[in-house]
Symmetry: C2
Subunit: 109 residues, 2 copies
């Protein structure tokens, strides 16, 4: 589909369960980042702690953003065995999760 | 504060109220984009509809991402009169909203 082309940003918001130790969180983040080297359509990954001050973050504490070349690339990623295995581990450590995908568009002014 | 330096991504997830017409949504998105020209620390803006297929989007339909040079820049934006005026209008059209800010960090592998 022509409309599926173009960069897709995959944004995951997370809150880890109470009691997951910081070094385990670090390992999970490294495991997430490592998917870039295992899953071809995943082109980039970055993350950060929530530092917002508006109190509209609804309890989420971590943001993970990965980049794909198309919506098909995201679908391939989701069903990839390396992602499925990682997601099982990752999600078992989370209290809350939210995922959105979007194609970044600028607005002509 | 030294630690406040570095690009900050400001991500807003939204769901518009039922009944807000598409042309009004377009105008609101243009109004959001226009803040880049009105508020100095806001450096970039893009947006997109949610196209995720994992059903973890919790009802959010739109993603708005803006970029700032520091957390102080975000604070200046939030209190800027142009933002306050726009936010009143924008939020009155929303059913759901969530905001996170983060400093994108890559993970050395």
């Amino acid at each position: 589909m022509e409309e599926s082309k173009g960069v897709v940003k995959h944004v995951l918001l997370a809150r880890f369960k109470d009691g997951v130790p910081p070094d385990q969180i670090d390992q999970l983040i490294k495991g997430y980042a490592n998917l870039v080297s295992l899953i071809e359509p995943m082109k980039a990954f970055n993350w950060g702690m929530d530092v917002s001050i508006e109190n509209l973050h609804q309890g989420f504490t971590h943001v993970f953003e990965s980049t794909f070349e198309s919506t098909e690339g995201v679908a391939e990623y989701i069903s990839h065995p390396a992602h499925v295995e990682f997601a099982d581990l990752f999600l078992s450590n989370l209290d809350k999760v939210l995922v959105v995908d979007y194609k970044p568009t600028t607005v002509p002014i």
